[in-house]
Amino acid sequence: MTATLPAPVPSSDTPPRIGPDETSLLRRLLAQRSATVALAVVVLLVLIALAAPLIAWAAGSSPTEFHSDAVDPALGGLPRGTGGGISTQHWLGVEPGSGRDILARVVYGARVSLLIALLATAVSVALGTALGLAAGFFGGWTDTVVGRLMDLLMSFPALIFMIALISAAPGVNRQLLLVVVLGFFGWPYVGRIVRGQAMVLARGEFVAAARVLGASRRALLVREVLPNLSGPVLVVATMSIPSYVATEAGLSFLGVGVRPPTPSWGQMIAAAVPWYAADPVYFLIPGGFLFATVLAFNVLGDAVRDALDPRSRRR
């Protein structure tokens, strides 16, 4: 039989409805002042990262170009002028010694930092959701194996292992390796949350209802359980971005992260350490960017969690 739909009923008394979550989530976020500021900072950082070549072009410099005229060889390479060499040519000053433009390096550093953090988050969310969902939904042996693997990875001295692994892998694209390693050690934190949620959902009556209707296992997972995980996954993803930004900076600081000449905030901070007394601006600028990024993402993550808090939501 073909479905003959009646003419759509004009709903004069009911306004068009929107989904319960995403649209109103943004509205709820903007209702909190701290979240609005954090969101603005995050958006600004993303724009800076995307527009890095444009900004460098506008400022008339590149992240790798040496400016020996901007530093004073008589003072051991200290930038000429005040505030670390801030001038009309170099808006945020230059690097001591080489004279590379700090603004260009910082905006390209934002690119590297955010790209690695976002990709690592994508890897850990994908792995954590898939494995956590399988563990929570199927239970039994799947749950035992995945659960033990998560325990193992979470109790592992991940930082030491990462340093050892990355420094022992020469000739590999460092940025790609960072994404893989960060994502691999990060997925259990997503997986643990997804597993718990999936466990509760799998025993829920709407899953039983779908089974009575004849839904396949795949349909149960994809259509019934997975959409209900988007809230907790979004929260854990937002919270994990700043920790990946910080970890990447830390590894780069230790010399096992992003390799020069690609600029990175951690690298710049490490390079600034010998100069901090003579040229504190060189230290403050990448440090300030790193601090603002981590803080903004953390505040945003908290706000997302508050906005999605099931207790504040009418069931």
């Binding site: 709903s11 009556e205 069931r315």
Partner: protein, 340 residues
């Protein structure tokens, strides 16, 4: 006589109980212990009993949400228990279910339209009835299709659950306490809706409840469960008028009466003790630990469900039909019987 629509024979469900680190098997909970049921086309079988007696387990066994330990279930002549999960689609179409909690049985992330087209999608069918028509049939408005479950009241949400169960035009709907989560005024509306739909579609129901009033309103026949077994089954008027099992007497005596004079005169049978643990059920008759009529024989010999009148079966060694109206549930003669 026609073959019954649903026939369950000697259903048993035992859940293993494990203890400690080694998950040592400590025993089995006998949630359902030899239940046989029969439902004919177009009738309603009420299934009553107190919490923990295995009513909901029976519902989940009938719809194959859980596997029986033993026993057989056949629907419209098709043997279900030998089929592997997932059940063949035609079987699923015949047999649907309505759940207790209207909200947790609806996916909060799906619109009503998605919820009501899911039956066809999961069955690989094209909808033969627009979602709007289904909504109207259960007393909702067509524009409700675009909304999410949390925008509805409990009664409305249960109507959506009913519409979903009816979408595939089943022959039998298992209703697992469909009204116990709702307000009393809404309960009556939902019961009336279920009755109307039964007439319209020729449905058969297995109606599970602990509320004897609701069961009386909707059932053609009633089965009373105690500790995983059926202790009495009869047609509705026989059960409410002349029940023979002492447990049924106790249940009926607990129903408050609308007439205040009758209510004051009402004699209540208050059962002593708690429901025994289904982990270690009593020997012989499961009800003997709380039964006012228990005798030595009840501790050794388990009474089988056997007919005492046409269509009236009781699992008791000393069945005693009620002779008077429910307002005085126990007659003098049965009181004497107890003391003798």
């Amino acid at each position: 006589m026609n073959a019954p629509l649903l026939e369950a024979h000697d259903l048993v469900k035992r859940f293993p109980v494990r203890h400690g680190l080694t998950r040592r098997l400590a025993g089995h909970v006998r949630a359902v212990d030899g239940v046989s049921l029969r439902v004919d086309a177009g009738e309603t079988l009420g299934l009553v009993g107190e919490s923990g007696c295995g009513k909901s387990t029976v519902a989940r066994l009938l719809t194959r949400l859980i596997e029986p330990t033993s026993g057989t279930i056949s629907v419209a002549g098709r043997e279900l228990t030998t089929m592997d999960e997932p059940l063949p689609r035609p079987v699923r179409r015949d047999l649907q279910m309505i759940f207790q909690d209207p909200f947790s049985s609806l996916n909060p992330r799906q619109t009503v339209r998605q919820i009501l087209t899911a039956p066809y999608r999961y069955q690989g069918l094209t909808p033969d009835e627009p979602v709007e028509d289904l909504l109207v049939r259960v007393g909702l408005r067509p524009e409700h299709a675009a909304r999410y479950p949390h925008e509805f009241s409990g009664g409305q949400a249960q109507r959506i659950g009913i519409a979903r169960a009816l979408a595939l035009r089943p022959k039998l709907v298992v209703c697992d306490e469909p009204v116990s989560a709702l307000d009393v005024s809404v309960q009556a509306q939902i019961l009336n809706l279920l009755k109307d739909l039964q007439q319209e579609y020729g449905l058969a129901y297995v109606f599970i409840a602990h509320d004897l009033g609701a069961v009386r309103q909707i059932s053609t026949r009633v089965a009373v469960m105690y500790l995983g077994t059926v202790v009495e089954t009869a047609d509705r008027d026989t059960l409410y008028g002349s029940a023979a099992h002492p447990y049924t007497h106790a249940l009926l005596s607990a129903v408050p009466l609308p007439d205040p004079d009758a209510e004051r005169a009402r004699e209540r049978i208050v059962l002593r003790g708690d429901l025994p643990s289904p982990l270690t059920p009593p020997s012989g008759c499961p009800f003997r630990t709380r039964c006012p009529r228990a005798a030595d024989r009840c501790a050794t010999e388990r009474p089988a469900l056997s007919p005492i009148a046409p269509g009236h079966e009781v699992a008791c060694h000393y069945p005693e039909p009620l002779t008077e109206q429910m307002s005085v549930p126990l007659s003098e003669s049965s009181a004497e019987e107890r003391t003798s």
